[in-house]
């Protein structure tokens, strides 16, 4: 491995794969290194909901941008990526949450995202298996679902077709100053290095603070036509984003197979990948409350994954101020499947000096340096 590349990407998750694809299609000589296989990290654990969120203006911009990139890409996606434009319904349990439906409706509407407000009847009509006496919801028809590991593989294969070199099963111990060192002592050189190592990104770049946020998911056997949209409770906004306490939320997804993927949980400070039974039970109880029909369904598997979280809940996309050769593409927390495409675009724009299509300042890693003392937002 004595070749010199323009860029070496550490991490073959969906973010690394999207960056490899984008950069190599812009003519750069790219290499990707991963200690496992493509998409074996958080990408293997994620739900694959392609969703627009509006916790902040900056989050919205990146998510909407990315959602539209996925939409454009959909015709090229192979069958096994299972891209399905199911739409999202944000479910409101009561009048307070209906107020949130309206706020969201206005917010999305003003920014050109098609939305549809649903009353109780309209909700029941679209998703008859939801429990009775819910207040209504907001339907976002542009949202979609896909199967992340195959999405990552597709992007990586396209990168390889544009000349990218993939090195799997190789662990990186050190990066910086244009050099990537592997566990077997080998070194690779490049003009730029992109740290896309997900939750491990902080191990490779000192001073980079990435926190793990653990999540649980459960998949059922096949129950065709039981569920049509990805459903999320709006209580999500009140509970699940709490920064300090463990939380669960009703979040279910129809897979193309007819299986139902049930989420979601968020835990800080949990390092072990083992299933936490207490939180799993809470999560499933929550799901049952919203969809009693889930109760009798056969669950085939549970698993956990870790989201790479930053303090301000925005990803890190851009140069690392301490090392001119080092770039970051990580910290996407629970949204990296969606945001991978937008991330790759704006990273490549910065590297190649092209004009980005959305403002990039909110994602620049340099903000972390400036805001060392910034407090956690209480309810982002």
């Amino acid at each position: 491995m004595n070749v010199t590349y323009d860029i070496i990407i550490v991490g073959a998750g969906i973010v690394g794969a999207a960056c490899a694809d984008e950069l190599s299609r812009r003519g750069m000589a790219v290499a990707i290194v991963d200690r496992e296989w493509i998409g074996g990290g958080a990408t293997a654990a994620g739900m694959g909901h392609i969703v627009v969120m509006d916790d902040s203006e900056a989050q919205f911009a990146l998510m909407r941008y990315s959602q539209q990139l996925w939409h454009k890409l959909r015709l090229e996606l192979p069958d096994d990526v299972e891209y399905e434009q199911t739409g999202t319904i944000w479910v409101a349990a009561d009048e307070e949450e209906m107020a949130e439906v309206r706020r969201k409706r206005n917010y999305y509407g003003q920014r050109g995202v098609p939305v549809e407000e649903l009353d109780a009847q309209g909700l029941k009509h679209l998703e008859p298996h939801l429990r009775d006496a819910l207040a209504g919801g907001l339907r976002v028809p542009d949202d979609a679902v896909l199967y992340p590991p195959c999405g990552a593989r597709f992007l990586m294969e396209r990168a390889q077709q544009s000349g990218a070199k993939l090195h799997l099963g190789r662990s990186v111990t050190q990066i910086g100053d244009g050099c990537v060192r592997l566990t077997d002592g080998l070194e690779m050189q490049a003009q730029y290095i992109v740290n896309a190592a997900g939750t491990s990104a902080g191990d490779l770049t000192s001073g980079l603070e990435i926190r793990k946020r653990k999540g649980h998911l459960v998949i059922t056997d096949r129950y065709a036509r039981f569920l049509r949209h990805q459903l999320l409770e709006l209580g999500y906004l009140k509970s699940a984003h709490s920064v300090t306490t463990d939380s669960v939320a009703f979040n279910v997804q129809p897979r193309r197979t007819g299986q139902i993927l049930i989420g979601s949980s968020r835990q800080y400070g949990a390092e072990h990948k083992e299933v936490d039974h207490e939180i799993l039970a809470r999560m499933l109880r929550r799901a049952e409350e919203y969809m009693p029909g889930l109760r009798a369904m056969s669950a085939i598997r549970c698993w956990t994954g870790f989201r790479a979280a930053t303090r301000d809940k925005l990803p890190l996309i851009g140069p690392w101020p301490d090392d001119p050769s080092l770039w970051l593409a990580t910290g996407h927390e629970g949204l990296g499947i969606t945001a991978s495409l937008g991330t790759a675009r704006i990273l490549a724009d910065q590297i190649t000096g092209a004009a980005p299509e959305i403002p990039i300042e909110p994602y620049l890693p340099s903000r972390m340096m400036l805001s060392q003392t910034l407090k956690e937002p209480a309810n982002a």
Partner: protein, 431 residues
């Protein structure tokens, strides 16, 4: 659904085959509270699966009687799918769930048949050898049906004899092992009179049925159902019309639950000490999961585990010598029925390997590990959780499975929620 009731046991046994029954009986003899749980409705495991029509063997009956006499709590029709914390197992049946508390645990989860993919193996009526036997015990009419028995292992002969006794027309028995290895195996049995006697009985029962060695099924044919099979010895092939193909390639141990509990596994088997205790203190293992060795070994191991779990160490030691003899037999079994490499070539590019998700052989070829193949192709992601295709790809590609995750058996969402009840109720001992 009935609400879950927590049950508490001094010794809990998972699996009510010979090993589990023996363990439960021996443990219960000292008056402690013993429970035994099995996915099957009745006790007996695979070999002593009860048939509605006929009586079970003397042995089976006497162990079952002891279970009753010793007031062992039998939880039938329940599979154990999770251990939320040490000392607590979750189990569910078709209409109930249980939280089972234990002081000591004996894992006697037995084995299943290994299935290997070949063209046509997914056709209805291509079925495991033990599988067809079990179906016949459950009243599948077999009289007059034409059956080819194929694969490897001593089970083939037992099944052929059973089916023949029930009126099936056994067209052929195809054993992939060579005549020479079988001869060596038979010679190794010379120290085991019981086995020889069984062998002689079997060969009498099977008299007249063509028994081919170095022979295996190359393909099964049929439109919507099995109609014929092609058997081969590598050089010669022959196609035979039949109603059933009973086909299994020896046994693979059920070690998913032991893995979940943190038991050490080596070469695919649960590692135990002299007293059948695993590296997890208080968790014992007996029968097929520690090595495929047949019913006699299962019974001794089960007894040792049961005695040890009840702290009757001296009595347990008395059985060590007996166990050693049967272990030798287990080792020669393993050698004799090793799979020949030609069997790796049977699957064509379009042959299904993962039957739950319909993943074809060619789809798997690009991958280097079970996990990457699973993530990319869905192989092993269905409800069997890789129990069938995992054992096949282990042989085909040398892949080893990743860790076991709960539930180790598909379970209803409501049963997974049962863990919350643990905190709310204390176990009541049943005696």
């Amino acid at each position: 659904m009935a609400s879950s009731t927590p049950d508490g046991f001094d010794v809990l046994v998972v699996g009510a085959g010979p090993a589990g029954m023996a363990a439960a009986v021996r443990a219960a003899e000292c008056g402690i509270c013993v429970g035994i749980v099995d996915d099957n409705a009745a006790v007996g495991g695979q070999i002593w699966r009860k048939s509605a029509e006929e009586d079970v063997t003397e042995d089976a009956k006497s162990w079952a009687d002891c279970l009753k006499a010793r007031q062992v709590t039998v939880l039938g029709g329940m599979h154990v799918f999770d251990q939320p914390e040490p000392g607590i197992l979750l189990a569910e049946s078709s209409d109930n769930r249980s939280v089972l508390h234990y002081e000591k645990l004996v894992l006697a989860t037995g084995a299943r048949e290994r299935f290997l993919p070949f063209p046509g193996w997914t056709l209805p009526n291509v079925i495991g050898a033990g599988g067809l036997q079990a179906m016949v015990k459950c009243r599948l009419p077999i009289r007059g049906k034409r059956v080819v028995v194929a694969g490897t292992g001593p089970l083939l002969l037992a099944v052929a004899a059973y089916l023949k006794a029930h009126g099936a027309e056994i067209l052929k028995i195809c054993e992939q092992a060579s005549w020479l290895t079988l001869l060596r195996f038979a010679t190794s049995l010379l120290t085991q009179p019981a086995k020889i006697w069984q062998g002689i009985q079997l060969s009498q029962q099977l008299g007249g049925i063509p028994f081919l060695t170095s022979s295996w099924v190359a393909a099964a044919h049929g439109d919507k159902m099995l109609e014929a099979v092609t058997i081969t010895s590598g050089s010669e092939t022959e196609t035979i019309d039949c109603d059933y193909l009973a086909c299994g390639f020896h046994l693979v141990p059920n070690i998913e639950l032991p893995i979940l509990l943190g038991c050490e596994i080596s070469d695919g088997f649960v590692q135990v000490n002299d007293l059948q205790e695993t590296n997890v203190s208080g968790v014992f293992c007996a029968g097929e999961p520690t090595g495929i060795g047949g019913v006699e070994l299962a019974l001794v191991e089960g007894q040792i585990a049961g005695l040890a779990a009840a702290s009757r160490i001296a009595e347990a030691r008395h059985l060590f010598g007996k166990r050693e003899g049967f272990r030798r037999f287990a080792r020669s079994l393993q050698r004799a029925f090793r799979l020949r490499p030609e069997l790796r070539m049977l699957a064509g590019p379009e042959t299904i390997v993962c039957r739950c998700e319909d993943v074809m052989y060619a789809q798997l070829c690009p991958y280097t590990s079970w996990r990457s193949a699973k993530l990319q192709t869905r192989c092993g992601m269905g409800p069997c959780q890789g129990r069938v295709c995992g054992a096949a790809t282990e042989f085909l590609f040398n892949w080893s499975l990743d860790s076991a995750r709960p539930p180790v058996f598909p379970a209803r969402v409501e049963s997974l929620v049962a863990v919350r009840d643990i905190k709310q109720q204390d176990p009541q001992k049943i005696s």
